[in-house]
Structures are given as structure tokens and as C-alpha cells.
């Protein structure tokens, strides 16, 4: 099962919107132009996801294995 997660580096994201154009199956844009990642990336769109990661003008998109949810706010 190769389920990857597309994660956004939010301070780096400048709402160029290239990712949503390349991967509309997984990413749409909110009213301010920032990406909403709807679901994990499954095998059939994995290559497109990799292209989207490389195409982001500010390198704000990353493909990772699903992370353990660890929140730390001291």
C-alpha cells in the first residue's frame, strides 16, 4: 500500500496555484488561492504528484509518508 501525503510548507506557499492545475484530482484552491489537499495520494496519481512537487515555484509542496500526528505546543 503506497499511500503518500502531500504536505504544504505554508510559509513558503505564495499561492501560485500550479499544483492545483497539475493535480486537480487531489488539490483545489481556496478563495485566496491557497491549496486545499483533499486526500492522500494514491498510486495512480503518484507520478503527477511528483511533477507537482517539482513544478511548485517556491518548492512549497512535499510528498511524504503519512506522518504520526504529533502536536507539540509547550
Amino acid at each position: 500500500m503506497s499511500e503518500h501525503l502531500l504536505r504544504v510548507d505554508w510559509p513558503a506557499c505564495k499561492a501560485h496555484g500550479v499544483c492545483a492545475e497539475l493535480l486537480p484530482e487531489v488539490i483545489s484552491l481556496d478563495e485566496w488561492g491557497y491549496p486545499i489537499v483533499h486526500e492522500p495520494v494514491r498510486g495512480d496519481v503518484l507520478e503527477l504528484a511528483r511533477t507537482a512537487v517539482k513544478a511548485c515555484p517556491t518548492l512549497a509542496l512535499r510528498l511524504t509518508a503519512p506522518p504520526p500526528r504529533v502536536t507539540t505546543v509547550a
Partner: protein, 187 residues
């Protein structure tokens, strides 16, 4: 017609001038597409990916013409331009200053190309710092072309030069104009 004749005759010189002008047009187009990218210009018929893709391809095409432009200059025996003059600015014997502008532009474009090919392996801020030098490369290349002579004095030569200046200027001004009104551009 022997090889020496070709090297000594006007063919390479014409090729050099030709590649020079094509290079100017390609770099101008690339610069405009770059500006369009930062302005996030997009419409139903023109996705952002198209701007990005064209920018990349036009730039790579420009690099090949740059290679041809330099090769024709170095190989041409009529003018004494050595291969290292192309890379080290202001070391030539023929019009060293204006040739140097071209060499400087080449060095900048080499840095821009190398970093762009490795963009996803490096951090974004240093990549961007190098990339904006492409503007300087365009400008220096333009001046190099205007001052190296030959065709700059002709009507079509001047028209092309000023056309390129106008095109980039309009793009840059429009980009900042766009920024002022756009709700989407939130840098």
C-alpha cells in the same frame, strides 16, 4: 570551398550575428514569461503551467543558441576571439568592453541555468537570488549586441533592439500594476 575558407569567410560571421539576434529575442521572451510567472497571470485558456513550461523551454532553447553564438565567434578566424574570452569578461582583444558584457551575461546565464536544473535539490532562497540575475544577463546581453556593431545601425536592427526593450519594460510595469490591484497575489 575548403574548411579554411569557411572559417575565414563571412558564413560564420553571418551565423554569429544571426544567432545573436535570435538569442536576444529568445531571452526577451523568456524574461517576459518569467515576469508573467511572478504575476500569476492566468486565464481559462492559459494555465499557469503553460507559462512555466514555456519559460523553461524557451530558456533552454536560448541556451543552445547561446552555445552556437559563442562557438561561431570563437571558431571564426576573421576576428581574434579566444574561447576563454567568452567566459572571462573584458579579456578580449576585439572590442574588449562590449565583448565583456556578453561574457558577463554568459557567466550569469550559466549560473541561472545550473541552479535551475538543480532547483528542487537546493533551498529556495539562494536559487531565487541567483535567478533574478537573469534580468542583468538580459540587459548586458542587449548592450553587448547593440555595441558590438554591425547590424545595430540598421533599421531592422534598431527596431528589434528597441522592441525587446519595450517588451520587457511593459511586462515589468504591468506586473507591478497587476500586483497593486490583485487580490490573489499575497506576497
Amino acid at each position: 570551398m575548403t574548411g579554411a575558407d569557411i572559417l575565414n569567410g563571412p558564413a560564420l560571421w553571418f551565423a554569429n550575428r544571426g544567432t545573436g539576434f535570435v538569442l536576444l529575442v529568445l531571452l526577451t521572451l523568456s524574461t517576459m514569461l518569467g515576469v508573467l510567472s511572478t504575476a500569476r497571470a492566468t486565464s481559462r485558456l492559459w494555465p499557469r503551467m503553460l507559462t512555466q513550461g514555456l519559460h523553461r523551454n524557451v530558456s533552454l532553447l536560448a541556451v543552445t543558441f547561446l552555445a552556437a553564438h559563442i562557438t561561431t565567434a570563437v571558431v571564426d578566424t576573421f576576428v581574434d576571439i579566444r574561447w576563454w574570452n567568452a567566459f572571462v569578461p573584458f579579456t578580449g582583444t576585439y572590442k574588449p568592453l562590449w565583448l565583456g558584457f556578453g561574457s558577463f551575461a554568459l557567466d550569469l546565464l550559466l549560473a541561472v541555468t545550473a541552479t535551475s536544473l538543480l532547483r528542487h535539490r537546493m533551498s529556495h532562497k539562494p536559487w531565487r537570488a541567483v535567478h533574478v540575475m537573469a534580468y542583468a544577463a538580459w540587459g548586458m546581453g542587449l548592450i553587448h549586441g547593440m555595441k558590438m556593431g554591425t547590424d545595430a545601425a540598421t533599421v531592422w536592427g534598431s527596431a528589434l533592439n528597441f522592441g525587446c526593450i519595450a517588451a520587457v519594460s511593459v511586462s515589468v510595469l504591468a506586473r507591478f500594476g497587476l500586483l497593486a490591484h490583485s487580490r490573489l497575489v499575497t506576497t
